[in-house]
C-alpha cells in the first residue's frame, strides 16, 4: 500500500492508502473532516470542493495518492479559532444557504475565484461557481454573499498586512 504525506488544514499526516481511495474519502473517513460532503458520482456538483496547493479541486475526482506531498485546505480549515472566515460570515449574513449541502464547496470555490478577481462582478461570480450546484437557493443570495465576502476580505487584508509588518519590525 502506498504511503503518502499530506497536509490538511495545517496538520501533516502520513497515511497508508489503497490506490483507489479518493481524496474526499481520505478527508472524511480517515481524518474525520466531514465538513466536506459528497454529492454525486460524476464530478458535477462541486459539493466536495477543497483547495489543493491553493487551487480549487473536486476532492471526489482526485485520488489520495495524487495528493501525496501536497497541501489541502477544507472548509474546516478556514476559521481562525472561534472567528469565521469573512466568506463564511458573508454566507451566514446574506442567507446564502438553505439545506447547506452545497455550502462548503460553494465557499471554497468562491474563495478560489477571488484569486483572479478580488472584486468580482455578478457575472464573474456566476461563472466562477459554474461547477457548484445548489438545489435550494436559486443562487441569488449566494452571489450576493460572495461579493460581500470579497469586499470584506479586501478590507481586512489591509490592516492585517500592516499588523504583520509591525510584528516583523518588532521582532529583534
Amino acid at each position: 500500500m502506498p504511503r503518502i504525506t499530506v497536509t490538511v488544514d495545517g496538520i501533516t499526516y502520513q497515511e497508508d492508502v489503497e490506490p483507489r481511495l479518493l481524496l474526499v474519502h481520505l478527508l472524511r473517513d480517515r481524518l474525520g473532516k466531514t465538513g466536506t460532503p459528497i454529492g454525486c458520482d460524476t464530478g458535477n456538483c462541486g459539493a466536495c470542493t477543497v483547495m489543493l496547493d491553493g487551487m480549487s479541486v473536486k476532492s471526489c475526482s482526485v485520488l489520495a495518492v495524487q495528493a501525496d506531498g501536497n497541501d489541502v485546505v477544507t472548509i474546516e480549515g478556514l476559521a481562525h479559532g472561534n472567528e469565521w472566515h469573512p466568506m463564511q460570515k458573508a454566507f451566514h449574513e446574506e442567507h446564502a444557504l438553505q439545506c447547506g449541502y452545497c455550502t462548503p464547496g460553494m465557499i471554497m470555490a468562491a474563495i478560489d475565484l477571488l484569486r483572479d478577481d478580488p472584486d468580482p462582478s455578478e457575472e464573474t461570480v456566476r461563472e466562477g461557481l459554474e461547477g457548484n450546484l445548489c438545489r435550494c437557493t436559486g443562487y441569488c443570495n449566494i452571489v450576493r454573499a460572495v461579493r460581500r465576502g470579497a469586499r470584506e476580505m479586501s478590507q481586512r487584508s489591509m490592516p492585517e498586512q500592516a499588523e504583520q509588518t509591525e510584528r516583523e519590525v518588532r521582532t529583534p
Binding site: P2, E18, P19, R20, L22, H25, D41, T42, G43, N44, G46, T49, L52, M55, S56, V57, K58, C60, S61, V62, L63, V65, Q66, A109, D112, L113, G128, E130, G131, N132, L133
Partner: protein, 294 residues
C-alpha cells in the same frame, strides 16, 4: 461509488513511464494512463472502467508547458486547461484553443484536467478534439521504440478510442498557428448544469475583402468521433460575409451551412435526438462562421 481496486505506478521519468507501459502492453495487462483524472476518475467511480493498474504521469514536469515554435505551438500533454487559458502564447497564436478551453467543464476541473488527457480520452462530446481536427493538429506519441506523429484526422478512431497503441503515451500536440486574416470561434450548446456539449462547432475562417476564402469546421458530438463539416467548407468558399446573419434578407452563409450535418451520425441520448442534433449543427455552424468571419 468506490472504484474497483487497481495497482498504482508513478513513474519518475518519461522513459520509465514508457518502460512500464511497454511491459504492460506485452503482458496484455489492461493499464490506463492517469493524467489529470477528470474524465477517468468519474468512469472508475461509476465502475464503467476496470483497469488493472493506473500509470500516473502527474509528476512528469517535462510533459507540461506551452512553447511557441514559429509555425506551430507545442502544448505538452500534461498542461492543464487552466495553464492553457493563462498562456499568452495560446491566446495570441492559437486563439481557437483558448476559446474552446474556456468552455471545458468548470474552474475546479480545469485546474486538474489536462490538454493531452482530453485528447487521448477521445470523447466525441469533448470540446478539444473538434478543435484539433479543425486545425489539423499533429499528435506526438512516444513508446519504448521511439517517437511517432499522428495527424488529427487519424488520431480519433472511435468512441473513446484513439490511435494510441498499447505501450504508447501522448507527449504533446502541435497546434498549427494560422496566419493573419484568420478569425476563430467555438460555439457550443449545452445544459447549464453540465458543460458537455450537446453539439459544438469549432470554426476557423480566413477572409479577405469581405469574402470567405477558406473555412475549417470541426463538429463536437455529431458522431462517434469529432467530424469535419467538409460540405460547408466547400460551399462557403467565396461567399460574402457581409450578408451573414442579415435579418430576413437572403443569407448565403446560412445556405452554405445547410450541409453542416452531412456525413455525420449524431448520437441519441437523453439530451437530444439525432434530428435535433442535425438541426443544431446547422444553426451553430452558421453562428460560429458569423462570429469567426467578422
Amino acid at each position: 461509488m468506490i472504484p474497483a481496486p487497481f495497482d498504482y505506478v508513478r513513474p519518475a521519468s518519461l522513459d520509465e513511464a514508457c518502460q512500464v507501459l511497454g511491459e504492460a502492453a506485452s503482458s496484455g495487462d489492461d493499464v490506463k494512463v492517469l493524467a489529470g483524472g477528470q474524465s477517468l476518475l468519474p468512469l472508475l467511480r461509476l465502475r464503467l472502467a476496470y483497469p488493472s493498474a493506473l500509470v500516473d504521469l502527474g509528476r512528469l514536469p517535462e510533459l507540461r508547458g506551452v512553447e511557441d515554435r514559429g509555425d506551430h505551438v507545442f502544448i505538452g500533454a500534461l498542461t492543464t486547461h487552466d495553464e492553457v487559458l493563462r498562456s499568452g502564447v495560446v491566446r495570441e497564436r492559437i486563439p481557437l484553443v483558448a476559446l474552446a478551453t474556456a468552455t471545458v467543464a468548470d474552474p475546479a476541473v480545469r485546474h486538474r484536467g489536462t490538454f493531452g488527457g482530453s485528447m487521448a480520452h477521445a470523447d466525441p462530446a469533448g470540446d478539444l478534439p473538434a478543435v484539433a481536427l479543425a486545425l489539423d493538429c499533429v499528435f506526438v506519441v512516444r513508446s519504448g521504440e521511439g517517437e511517432r506523429e499522428i495527424p488529427a484526422a487519424e488520431f480519433f478512431v472511435d468512441y473513446l478510442e484513439s490511435a494510441l497503441e498499447p505501450g504508447e503515451v501522448l507527449i504533446g500536440v502541435k497546434v498549427p498557428a494560422l496566419g493573419p486574416g484568420w478569425g476563430f470561434h467555438y460555439e457550443k450548446f449545452h445544459r447549464t448544469a453540465q458543460a458537455w456539449a450537446i453539439v459544438g462547432v469549432a470554426a476557423a475562417v480566413r477572409r479577405s475583402n469581405g469574402t470567405i476564402e477558406e473555412a475549417r469546421i470541426g463538429l463536437t458530438n455529431m458522431g462517434s468521433t469529432p467530424v469535419r463539416a467538409r460540405a460547408v467548407e466547400a460551399a462557403i468558399r467565396g461567399v460574402s460575409i457581409a450578408a451573414a446573419g442579415s435579418n430576413g434578407a437572403h443569407d448565403p452563409v446560412r445556405d452554405a451551412c445547410a450541409g453542416a450535418d452531412e456525413g455525420t451520425s449524431p448520437p441519441s441520448d437523453l439530451h437530444a435526438q439525432p434530428d435535433y442534433r442535425r438541426h443544431l449543427a446547422r444553426v451553430l455552424t452558421h453562428r460560429a462562421i458569423g462570429v469567426a468571419g467578422r
